[in-house]
Amino acid sequence: MAQNLINALSLGSLYALIALGIALLFSIMGLINFAHGELITIGGYTLLAFHGLPLAVAVALTVAVVVAAALTMERLAFRPARGASGETLLMTSFALSLLVQGGVLLKEGADPQSVNVLGSLGASVDVGGMTIGKLDVAIIGVTGVLLIGLAWFLRATPLGVQMRAAAEDFTMARALGVRADRVVATAFGVSGAFAAVAAVFLVARTGTLTPSMGLTPVLLGFVAIVLGGLGRLWAAAIGAYVLALLSVMLQAYLPTGLAAYRDALVYLGIIVILLFRPHGIAGRPQGVRV
């Protein structure tokens, strides 16, 4: 049981990083960023490229590259479309996603590549009879630090307060002097950093890379956001952990004969939750708030 909880927390952390990265951009500029998955892909292949360097260095370089990629996306693709309708932004992100995927495919080929970034993190420790993977502990701990860091940034810094204001009413925030470019670029930067860390965790868990590796995590990120509720940023994280819990518990306790239906049952569970809470677990009916 406790082992399953650790597993759910670890998986939930991965989902939470992805869901928050998407929700942050949505809350500020109404952008549903499909290309978020490609940030994860870029992160994965960057990690592969820096394989052999000390893990901390490789991770730092991966974060730097993905943040740069996110800022480039903002500058080249989304800034010219700023103020356009949600549909236009969505289409832009779709096009961008396909473009990056195509680029990775050309450069790296379609075959899955494997990489072991774990090193000593692959080991597990014994805690009171339970075997806990060091990787899970690392994922949970690092995500915890990142979430607390984001919360602190949004509460305690002037730029963070400006971002929360922009999420509530972008136009009014600008009328008060909040620089739109700076707020949006910061949101993309944070989103990119979270995607990079998520990519490291994902690759560490699975050990494989493909040009479309970002797709499933991003879809799960969207599911987490809807499940948590569109009204609030932190609801996305709550949705992520609940989604992971559902998935891990069904995996653990489903009779073997029904195991093939696990994903279907996860979505059934989500539908049931949304029937009772149509705005999500922690969502609010009105506008989006950070």
Binding site: P158, A165, E168, T171, A173, L176, V178
Partner: protein, 237 residues
């Protein structure tokens, strides 16, 4: 010196011509009020001054510099502060955070704390509730926060859209006393106001806007005393 110059301003929303060639100067230290019936285009003009609507033609100048194509944030940093009809309060932020937000338009960031202090002196209700969410404030308190916040940026030009809207008479007295105090301090104010008797008392110049066309009123007191004049310019009674 002329602080704000609006010249031959046109604003359209699709087929609707909301503002049809408005020219208006606001002197530094002056108070200009615009009155007019619903849908006359008052909010459109003020929004154009802050850069929140696209203008079809015409120019807007601040201290002689053309700002027609400037972003809203650049105008805020250049000294324009706008209090919209809806007040623009951020309900998910605390009252202190709402106030501090306007400090990003300050040239001298170091003066932010002193600016906030001044606004709190002007509107003491806010001082006791700094850490509460702004969403809990009443309509009158929101208006005080909106004006107090606008003042934090120490604006050269304060633009107010219907400050009296939805306020009880007692609160109105306090609000207009504050505005008069700001005027006497030498602040420049451009205000749209339906409460004509108060607008006339506050302003140096009163303009009437009807169907997107602006007209300077030589004897604005008639708005208060003369029912026919009042009906003509405000479209009521």
């Amino acid at each position: 010196m002329t602080l704000l110059e609006i010249a031959d301003l046109h604003i359209s929303y699709g087929p609707v011509d909301a503002v049809r060639g408005v020219t208006l100067d606001v002197e530094k230290g002056g108070v200009v009020a615009i009155v007019g019936p619903n849908g006359a285009g008052k909010t459109s003009i003020l929004s154009a001054v802050q850069g929140l609507v696209r203008t079809r033609s015409g120019t807007i100048r601040l201290r002689g510099a053309e700002i027609t194509d400037w972003s809203p944030e650049r105008r805020a940093r250049a000294g324009i502060a706008f209090v919209p009809e809806s007040r623009g309060i951020f309900g998910s932020l605390s009252i202190a955070e709402n106030l501090s937000l306007a400090a990003c338009a300050l040239a001298e960031k170091a003066t932010a704390a002193a600016q906030i202090e001044r606004s709190l002196e002007l509107f003491p209700v806010l001082a006791d509730r700094l850490n509460q969410r702004a969403s809990v404030l009443s309509g009158g308190e929101r208006q005080q926060l909106a004006i107090g916040r606008a003042l934090v940026s120490s604006p050269d030009l304060l633009v107010l859209d219907e400050p009296s809207l939805g306020l009880a008479p007692v609160i109105l007295d306090g609000l207009f006393a504050s505005l008069a105090a700001l005027r006497d301090e030498g602040r420049t104010i451009l205000v749209v106001e339906q409460n004509v008797s108060r607008a006339v008392r506050l302003a140096d110049h009163v303009y009437s806007l009807r169907g997107g066309l602006l007209e300077r009123l030589e004897n604005p007191q008639d708005l208060v005393g003369d029912p026919a004049f009042r009906a003509k310019h405000l479209g009521m009674e």
